[in-house]
Symmetry: D2
Subunit: 205 residues, 4 copies
Amino acid sequence: MSNKTLLLTGFEPFGGEKINPSALAVKEFSGKKINGVEIYTEILPVVHKKCVERTLELINKLDPVAVLNVGQAGGRTHITVEKVAINFLDYTIPDNEGNKPRYIKITEDGQDAYFATIPVEEIVVTIKKSNIPAMLSYSAGTFCCNELFYGVSHYIRKNNLKIANGFIHIPFIYEQAIDSPRPSMPLSTIIEGISIAIDVITKRV
Amino acid sequence: MSNKTLLLTGFEPFGGEKINPSALAVKEFSGKKINGVEIYTEILPVVHKKCVERTLELINKLDPVAVLNVGQAGGRTHITVEKVAINFLDYTIPDNEGNKPRYIKITEDGQDAYFATIPVEEIVVTIKKSNIPAMLSYSAGTFCCNELFYGVSHYIRKNNLKIANGFIHIPFIYEQAIDSPRPSMPLSTIIEGISIAIDVITKRV
Amino acid sequence: MSNKTLLLTGFEPFGGEKINPSALAVKEFSGKKINGVEIYTEILPVVHKKCVERTLELINKLDPVAVLNVGQAGGRTHITVEKVAINFLDYTIPDNEGNKPRYIKITEDGQDAYFATIPVEEIVVTIKKSNIPAMLSYSAGTFCCNELFYGVSHYIRKNNLKIANGFIHIPFIYEQAIDSPRPSMPLSTIIEGISIAIDVITKRV
Amino acid sequence: MSNKTLLLTGFEPFGGEKINPSALAVKEFSGKKINGVEIYTEILPVVHKKCVERTLELINKLDPVAVLNVGQAGGRTHITVEKVAINFLDYTIPDNEGNKPRYIKITEDGQDAYFATIPVEEIVVTIKKSNIPAMLSYSAGTFCCNELFYGVSHYIRKNNLKIANGFIHIPFIYEQAIDSPRPSMPLSTIIEGISIAIDVITKRV
């Protein structure tokens, strides 16, 4: 029996935050096995191009059956499963190395956009059944998160790889909302939501 | 040694919601003793005048050292400890018996507004220390919640009672946000927040 | 010299609103000529499939150089020029004939998404220069607006037509916010914004 | 016949903004006469204590029949007529001289709060009749605006003056929302709203 791997990524802190809940949540899955699939975790730099390059390296190295990228979407109230990655960047804040690309395509040879190939509707429905607020989202923004999501989606199609991929945006966690009036969720809820998403994905691969 | 009681109230569901998290949270404290103070709980009708009358009856019956009223403030992201009760009603939705008083004073013989007499700042700081998003709020609205908060505040002053009183507004819980994009909190967080508030209040009385 | 036409559409009221500002704004341009291009206006039904069909009929009849669809996006604070149309529908409220398609593709033979082909970045920049709040948007939702935007985008590509197309979402107008605490704009600002968009588009065709 | 004066104040810019729409709007009324009442305008410093002191000086000098203070409430969607001034300060950002008082009373000898004595409900209704989004507000915050509103309210009562007073919070104007996704209004709408408020107030004095 072949060894199956799911590549699960989070991001470093950015935008003045001291933590990134995507990193905290993703680390919880390091080395775990879910439905017979090994979870390989990586925390990516919030840096233009580098976030994608590192992930593509890992895809080549690991030959995963699925890639699930997780990122922080401050201000959202729900765990949001992204439907669409677009071939467009507009960094309204600088990344962690000071890059701020505006109004550019990610690649010249890609489609305008790609849908996630993980079962996003089923993931949302299943998370909600566990009494966790979850929704589909139709925009992953125009920052690193979308760049990574699009970059992975495009690479998989271009190389005809059999990899299901998708992106989950998570809210701030309590620690980040203690001193500001913005929505947040306990980290434990976020970990449970991601766990359900991985369960749905790995049952299918 | 005399028996000390804290009167803790929640509200029935209203406004089309099937549950009211204030009722669910408050019930958890029924019959408990915190810092030697017995917690007496009551779920109040969301009805103009009746919500106040029932509470004043209980104050007369129980002679509590403190009154803490809890209500749902849908849309808020934090547990909010109310600072101010105002002598004004404007029901923008009907109560559970169809009353909809607009632009009226609660009583002709009261001050424009009263501050809570529980230590609101200390409660907020202490809840935040437990990593729970909490804030002061400067408006309890113009519906039943404010009517109750003002009614109790005015009665205590008018009768020179030695009762500390205050009001806590809580967000929707997860169940109420599953199908709508609005902020929510797990019920467990809300119960913990109220528990901390009661601990701070009962240490002082 | 050939007669050039720009097809400009608005929508009927929907979702319980008595007016649709997109219809009010669009009607202002009926019969006008901007940069030598005649503006043909149409108010579309907020009905699944029919909104697209009517527009495709008009495209066939008018052979326009550009199609600009306008719709109401209640809750937005800015005039938002849509970048992306997606091949996906999820009506969270019923349309004006009671249809409520959930989680379906608009067409089986289309790409996941298409970008607008009007110069969206230039339109936003130019509107902003006139001191009108405008932004790009990366999601036209999953209701009629996106269906129309995608339907037109797909038809143009499938038939290799030389038509620039795009979609502008506008906020509520003052009339719609008088009794609810939601963002709004005067109709005059919206008309000015659309006028600038048409000016930018017609200069290029 | 005695000369009647209404004192109308705005504020300097603060909090990183380059303009304060309250100053821009208030200046429009300088030297005007409405319903026989002269409008005296002043732009106040956004500075703890000083904003109140300057206003009380002007009250002593001008002996006005009414005082209307106007301030910016960034993030609000409507012109909001404040109902309640509270005896409490909590500056969550520093004022223009770096002061940041936290959790303090404005004065030891005042009531917890005072209602505006201008006809706030009538002002809101009348502004709305002119198709301008307006609402009552039940919290003027805990910054300079509330300090001024409370300071004036307390001084008038303490000295038994026959002066109607109130506070209007206005949204950002378009200029302030061009590059951020936040609600705004054209300055002309704000000026019209204030004009209606002054008309209602001066008809009564």
